[in-house]
């Protein structure tokens, strides 16, 4: 009977993060095959689906640093029943948010105008490049978030316990021993 139920559908994305949370998700190792038995993947960096469709669970890594991040995040919120902020960048902004107390203009000049080995000095300015925000925002400042999974990145075991609970319809309980705040 259980086989007739449609599989849980999961989407994941990385905004202003480093991909480390996705790496940690893959670090569940062989359990990845068990996960693929239980769920179907919608938009993730590992599939070629470019836009998030209706999903049960959406997992977002990284903060919001530009207009494209905000667009993707809203698309996830609209399509996902449950939205999860995974890792420190999504939860607090973390390392990318270190630029928040620096004038963005100064940041750009440092990289594109002051570096001695740079030629053709100019600030890239093309309509194809998404509008950068003056600060990097945690995702809860832009959309409603249902769960926060801490860590930089959260360990694979914590991700596994969290996901299997959600998939089986239980409230996730992560023991203190597997939560990391570094």
């Amino acid at each position: 009977m259980a086989d007739e139920k449609p599989k849980i559908r999961i989407a994941t994305c990385s905004l202003a993060g480093c991909f480390g949370c996705h790496t940690s998700l893959l670090d569940i190792d062989e359990r990845l095959f068990d996960l693929m038995e239980m769920v179907e993947f919608d938009r993730t960096p590992f599939t070629d689906i470019k836009h998030c469709g209706p999903c049960d669970i959406g997992i977002v890594e990284g903060g919001v640093s530009n207009a494209e991040n905000a667009r993707v995040l809203k698309e996830f919120r609209e399509n996902c029943n449950v939205l999860v902020a995974i890792g420190s960048c999504a939860i607090t902004g973390n390392v990318p948010a270190l630029r928040n107390n620096i004038d963005l203009w100064d940041c750009f000049q440092e990289v594109y105008l002051y570096d001695s080995g740079t030629e053709g000095k100019q600030i890239p300015n093309d309509p194809e490049l998404p509008l950068p925000f003056d600060k990097v925002y945690p995702i809860y400042e832009v959309v409603k978030v249902d769960y926060f999974l801490h860590g930089c990145p959260p360990p694979a075991d914590a991700i596994w316990r969290f996901l299997t609970a959600l998939i089986q319809g239980r409230e996730p309980e992560i023991g203190y021993e597997s939560l990391r705040y570094d």
């Binding site: 893959l26 590992f46 963005l104």
Partner: protein
């Protein structure tokens, strides 16, 4: 040369096709194509759309913090940034690590090469190679691979796991560990961990050999297609050991041109700035490096597995060296230039990494407690390493208060910026020009990008004269507040 496709003469009159996001790569990328009414490709560009500003925001931070901080550039190859920064910090503290620490770092780096190469080949790229570039979307991924080729998928996962465990045992964590410190290492390898690795390593070497055999088989079955896909010739740059051997952890810079002639060799990497400059283009946040003696137009080059296997005189482990010879013979003893050869070279490197780990594990120095050297403070340090994706350069200056004052990072993928653009233009001309574009055909463009295994997380970015706009939106989507900042620094609501 395909550079005429960089900028179309009259873009406003052309159709725009966008591939966004580029998938099954690490980080954020976007491809735009401009086509005329006959679907002839007039412009093709690979854009990097993410801005971090690492070089700016680490200013003022203590130098000891940097190796751990810069890992957050990239969660797939954090060890590379950690090690490149640490090598720069070794110079700043004026102390080369003791032999035991050097070997532990090498072990960690080989573990990373193994996991990163396995991830790229099995989890990200192999679906294209095994199912076909235009196979149905739902199938072209690791789940499709697990369904149809379970043994291959399980070996990929197993290889990655082993590499990640090597990293965990030497750095404390699989992602963003803290094992490496300026002048050495903070921990050794425990006897228990070493025994676990020794028990597994023979199988890991065997699986790596099978991965090389798999890519060779695919090559053999589609020889002409693999050779011609996105083909062009280029210069190559990599680190090589003093004696010309492949060395992924340390060496001198060597560059050869598209005819195989040496451009420079045995270059001390702390002088990289005398040989390489970077150009800025308005449409990408990633700069375009070039070799100065060749000039801005002709000086671009490729780095990474293909460059390293082509550039080295030999690989210092037997199985990988045997495979290098086969690889070389395939192109008549010359350097291989085919875009898809990257995959073959990457698997040869994965085999080399597995063999190098096996050799290292038999060295009792890994269990030593002599892990840190202390020296005399310097104010400038350059660290260079061969990351999975190619030559990675970290360059720092500090002040007397031990704070970072300047930083310059040239990440591996940046070196390949022009080369990736050349590849997508070549593929556009070969397969898309004049065609009705389907999803499957557009994937050909991504296949060309994936061959480079780009790591786009490390990209940087900027704004021009456009104003910055910030919108605050509440949970219902209603706009609460909007602030615009002009480039002259003024604000308006």
């Amino acid at each position: 040369m395909t550079s005429e496709l960089e900028t179309a003469a009259n873009p406003e009159k052309l159709k725009r096709i966008v591939i966004e996001p580029v998938t099954r790569v690490e980080g954020h990328g976007k491809v735009t194509l401009l086509l005329d009414e006959d679907n002839r490709v007039q412009q093709a560009r690979f854009h990097i759309v993410e801005f971090r500003g690492f070089e700016k925001f680490i200013q003022g931070r203590p130098y000891t913090e940097v190796p751990v901080l810069v890992q957050r550039l990239c969660g797939i190859c954090p060890v590379s940034h950690n090690l490149a920064a640490s090598k720069a910090m070794d110079v700043i503290v004026g102390a080369a690590p003791p032999p035991a620490a050097d070997k532990l770092r090498r072990l960690m780096h080989m573990g990373q090469m193994l996991q990163s190469h396995a991830l790229h080949f099995f989890h990200l790229s192999s679906p294209d190679l095994l199912f076909g570039f235009d196979a149905e979307v739902g199938k072209r991924n690791i789940a499709g691979l697990a369904m149809q080729f379970p043994d291959i998928a399980r070996q990929g996962v197993g290889l990655r796991k082993f590499g990640q465990e090597v990293i965990r045992m030497t750095s404390g964590k699989r992602v963003h560990g803290t094992g490496v410190i300026p002048g050495g290492m903070s921990k050794n390898l425990s006897r228990e961990d070493r025994d676990w690795l020794l028990a597994e390593i023979d199988q890991v070497v065997r699986w790596s050999q099978q991965a090389v055999n798999l890519i060779k088989r695919l090559y053999g079955e589609h020889k002409d297609f693999y050779n011609n896909f996105g083909y062009y010739r280029s210069s190559f740059m990599s680190l090589v050991r003093e004696d010309g051997a492949m060395d992924l952890y340390h060496g001198n810079l060597r560059a050869i041109d598209d005819k195989g002639q040496t451009i420079f060799d045995h270059v001390d990497y702390s002088h990289y700035g005398d040989y390489i400059h970077e150009e800025v283009k308005s449409w990408s946040y990633m700069k375009f490096p070039f070799i100065r003696s060749q000039g801005r137009e002709e000086g671009w080059y490729r780095v990474g597995p293909l460059a390293r296997v082509n550039n080295c005189d030999f690989i210092p482990t037997p199985l990988a060296e045997a495979e290098r010879k086969i690889f070389k013979e395939y192109d008549g003893g010359r350097a291989s230039h085919a875009t898809l050869s990257f995959h073959w070279a990457r698997m040869i490197e994965m085999l080399h990494s597995a063999e190098a780990i096996r050799e290292l594990l038999h060295d009792d120095d890994l269990l030593s407690d002599d892990l840190v050297n202390i020296g005399e403070r310097q104010l400038r340090g350059v660290g260079v390493i061969e990351a999975p994706r190619g030559t990675l350069i970290h360059h720092y200056r500090i002040n007397e208060d031990e704070q970072i004052v300047r930083a310059n990072l040239i990440v591996a993928t940046t070196h390949n910026n022009q080369a990736m653009n050349e590849a997508i233009r070549q593929v556009s001309l070969q397969y898309l020009d004049g065609q009705q574009l389907t999803e499957g055909l557009l994937n050909y463009i991504e296949v060309a990008i994936r061959a480079f295994d780009p790591c786009l997380s490390c990209a940087t970015h900027a704004l021009g004269k456009m104003p910055l706009e910030v919108e605050l939106v509440d949970a219902e989507g209603a706009r609460v507040k909007r602030i615009i900042k002009d480039s002259d620094g003024g604000y308006r609501a």
